[in-house]
Symmetry: C2
Subunit: 378 residues, 2 copies
């Protein structure tokens, strides 16, 4: 195996694949990055126990300046290999596999010889058939992921809750996540010939949206029994699926309400951030919302016995229904508010001080809901 | 005490004073920030065991929009107080001390009441007389500090070596630092009526240069027996001095040399950074420089038994003298090279493989020297 390539084009691709590699993996070969060179181009592969990624650099794209002297494969220690390539002096570099997987890297005045591993021992990537692909516009897909992963559980005690449930029927996609204290549910219209009910790990989705470049217009998704494959540009992104049955989130969302507030997401976020400065210092991290519908007044209260108290009169566009005093974790409300984006008009609906309350964007109320369970303080 | 003030002007000053405050201090009142309001303006004070800082916001400067209703003093928990002020909604805020040091802060829809401490219990700042001030152009002062603090020791076993020695005579200022493996010495011309020999903690100097804004043209320095006071803008920056006798660094710098290299600082830095990628992985973190004067060739070698080897042919402007093989810690060389700034022509002078070698900028060779002790590898 011997080739030369444009250094910055190569770095663009390895920095993506690098995300799939854990340098702390207990399987030594998985701390490496695999390079496979065929006449058609160079495939770079990284993998950990949750996700795998390949990126393909085609020979036919002249920008890559990929010159092949002989084909072959090698696995190189990913952290060093990437640091070395980033610091090389030239615009191009040359890579050649010598005896015993020793690999020579040359660029300008620099010559590195690093110890590689035999690519034969690298695990095979999962087989996912590319039939029944679902295609998403990238921006919409990122929105769905970013709006739901906020509610994913970080505790491994109920593994299914560490994922986002993708429920796909002929009515579209419903993505939902809950950590049992709060819930986020988003619906979009897509067409699919088959129904699917899958749970994708939240961490995989977070890495996936980070990997998708701004120039990517569409992303396609293929599903097998225990793997999902996302395909965009020259990148294949594989994630394992979570086993188990996801709770039916539809049942958890209340239909009616007794008190309703309408406000701007950014205004309320700023108030909650200030109130949480003090609640974070108290043992239970709770803030109280007091609604006096007759006076059209809603006030947030936070306090910490050590530091002091805070009172925020909320800037609401509308207040209607019954008076209410309700307490909750401000961090859940902050996450929910951020998921709507800035300066979005939101309706917050309450049943009672002991029942979960919801937040919905007024402009898209049927397709997106955030739900938060209050804290009983009396 | 009651006043209102422009929020962003206030934040500019507190963010400086904040540097002097350790929120982990074992003396509770020192985790606070002191506010002293007189008719002439507001003085903000922070202090830890090493440095103290005050910043003055004058009433007469209309930009500050400082409106005084009643004067007085208070100490507020610095971390919260600063976070609160940063997040307040309005352009201005009002602060009022109520009973029992409770302090009310109002801005727009927000109202905070935080628990303060009695300012009477705040320690007095050191007395430093403002006679015999030395005045430095800010850029030159920052240069002297940045070029010497790199060589300061981080180990407390010999406390004097954690400081920079300022030796001031009628010939000017010589600043020197050494951790006993490397040394940096810089001279500048200043006029002083008295001689001084002081040791300023490296950490104090690092904080000081971070505090000095880009718009500051001059900085003045006053010295007392165990304190030094730097004065610029409306800021007073106090640092304790280190007790003890600083080694005579002049004696350590060799006068003659047998091998000399001339090169561009940025070129050599890039080569050393690459070579150190591998040396960092080996137990002893050493790279080897091989000079063949007849061939006009200098080569750096780094290696790690686990990862591999690297060879860098250096891009030297001139090589003269005897052949040499010398080994050293690449991190010392990187620090030294960075201290010269980018694209500076440097002369590196060697006596033998076992003697310290020096680096000097060709354009200012008499006033700045970095010295590095080699590592014996045989």
């Amino acid at each position: 195996m011997k080739f030369s390539i444009d250094r910055s084009k190569f770095i663009n691709q390895t920095s993506n694949v690098q995300r799939a590699i854990s340098t702390k993996s207990s399987i030594p070969i998985l701390t490496g990055m695999k390079l496979d060179l065929s006449e058609s181009g160079l495939t770079i592969t990284g993998s950990n126990s949750d996700i795998s990624m390949t990126s393909f650099i085609p020979t036919e794209d002249a920008d890559n300046d990929l010159k092949i002297e002989s084909t072959g494969s090698i696995v190189l220690p990913s952290r060093f290999f990437n640091e070395i390539i980033k610091k090389l002096p030239g615009d191009k570099f040359e890579l050649e596999v010598l005896n015993n997987n020793q690999t020579l890297i040359k660029s300008g005045v620099s010559e590195f010889t690093i110890n590689g591993l035999d690519a034969v021992n690298y695990p095979h990537l999962p087989d996912v058939e590319a039939d029944n692909q679902l295609v998403f516009p990238t921006d919409l897909f990122k929105e769905v992921v970013n709006q739901t992963v906020v509610a994913v559980s970080t505790q491994e005690s109920r593994p299914v809750l560490t994922g986002v449930n993708f429920l796909i029927t002929n009515e579209g996609l419903t993505a939902a996540a809950t950590d049992s204290h709060r819930l986020s549910q988003r619906r979009i219209n897509i067409t699919s010939e088959e129904d699917y009910n899958l749970i994708i790990p939240g961490k995989s989705l977070t890495e996936l949206v980070r990997t998708i470049g701004d120039s990517v217009k569409e992303i396609s998704m293929s599903i097998s029994e225990n793997q999902v494959l996302f395909n965009f540009d020259n990148i294949m992104f594989y994630s394992r699926l979570l086993d188990g049955r996801y709770p039916e989130t539809d049942r958890l969302i209340p239909d009616d309400s007794n008190t309703r507030l309408t406000f701007d997401s950014s205004n309320l976020l700023a108030s909650v951030e200030r109130a949480s400065l003090l609640s974070h210092e108290s043992r239970n991290n709770v803030i109280k919302l007091e609604i006096k519908a007759v006076d059209k007044k809603a006030t947030l209260y936070g306090n910490s016995p050590e530091v002091g108290t805070v009172e925020e009169v909320l800037d609401c566009e509308n207040i209607e229904g019954d008076d209410l005093e309700i307490s909750f974790n401000p961090d859940y409300l902050k996450d929910a508010l951020r998921s709507f984006g800035s300066n979005t008009t939101i309706e917050m609906s309450f049943t009672s001080a002991l029942h979960p309350f919801t937040l919905r964007p007024v402009e898209n109320r049927d397709n997106f809901v955030q739900l938060i369970t209050p804290v009983r303080t009396f």
